[in-house]
Symmetry: C2
Subunit: 137 residues, 2 copies
Amino acid sequence: MSDRSQFRAVGLKTTLPRLKVMEILENSGERHMTAEDVYKEMLNLKEEIGLGTVYRVLNQFEQAGLVERNNFESGSSVFEIKSDSHHDHLVCMKCGVVEEFFDPSIEAQQEKVAKMAGFQIAGHSLSIYGFCSDCQE
Amino acid sequence: MSDRSQFRAVGLKTTLPRLKVMEILENSGERHMTAEDVYKEMLNLKEEIGLGTVYRVLNQFEQAGLVERNNFESGSSVFEIKSDSHHDHLVCMKCGVVEEFFDPSIEAQQEKVAKMAGFQIAGHSLSIYGFCSDCQE
DNA sequence: GTATCTGCAAACGATTTGCAATCCC
DNA sequence: GGGATTGCAAATCGTTTGCAGATAC
C-alpha cells in the first residue's frame, strides 16, 4: 500500500510534510526516531518543515495506527513504523541502539498475571535496558 | 534501619525536608507517588517545602538507591520506596491504581532474550496497562 | 472554493538550576 | 564556622497550540 492510499484510508490528506515524515521513518537507517531526529533528517534532506509540524504529523500517524510511540528512559518519545506484529525492546544504555524482540512465553505469562490480578489488559510496554554486544567492556 | 541512619549511610545529611519526604513515601496510603503528590501531601501536613526541593530530594534518594522512579504513560514520573525485591507493574488506565507483581518465569525469559541478543542486562521495565477489576464495564 | 493543513512563535507542564539565605554537624 | 541544603524564581526541555497564510482536492 502506498503512503498516498495509506493516508487516504485513515482520512489524512496527502501533503508533502506527511509524505516526507513517513518516508524518513521508512528509509532512514534507524527504525526508532525522536521527533527531533526526524526534524534534523528533514533539514539534512533540505526539506522545509517546522518542528511543530513534525510533532503534529507524528501524533496523527500514531492516532491513525501508522506509527507507534515508545517512552524509553531517555526523556523523549521515540516513534517507529507500526508493524503488524507486536514486539518489545532491548535498549543499549551506552550507544542507544534499539533491538526488537518478541517472546511468546513472556506474552502468555503476562496474560496470566493480569488475569490473576483481575485486570483486563489493554497493552503493555517491556523494555530491557543494558549494553549491546558492541558496548560491553 | 531508621531514616536517620539510612541517610547517613548514603552520605546525605539528615534534614527536615528529607525526613518528611521519606515519611510520606513510607506512610501515605499510596506507594506510587508523583513529586506533585508528595508536595501536596506535604502541604496538607502543614509542612513548609518547595516543589523544587521535593524534586531534588527524590532525585537524591533515587541516586542513593532508596527510591525507584517509574515512567508510566502518564507524563510524570512516579516514585516508590525501593524494596529489596524487584517487581513490575500493572497500571489501571482509568483510575490510575498501580499493582505490583513479580513473575519468575518472565524474569528468566528476559535473561534468555538478552543473552540471545548479546545484551548485558542492567535493568528492565515492564508495565502492563489495562483496567482493574473496579474499572471494567 | 473551502476545509484542511502548515509554519511560526508563543504557551505549556514537568523538571532542573542559580543564587542568596539558612541549616546541620 | 563552613560546607551542605533549602526556597524561590527564573530557566530549560520536550511537546502542544493558536492563528494567519498556504495547500490539497
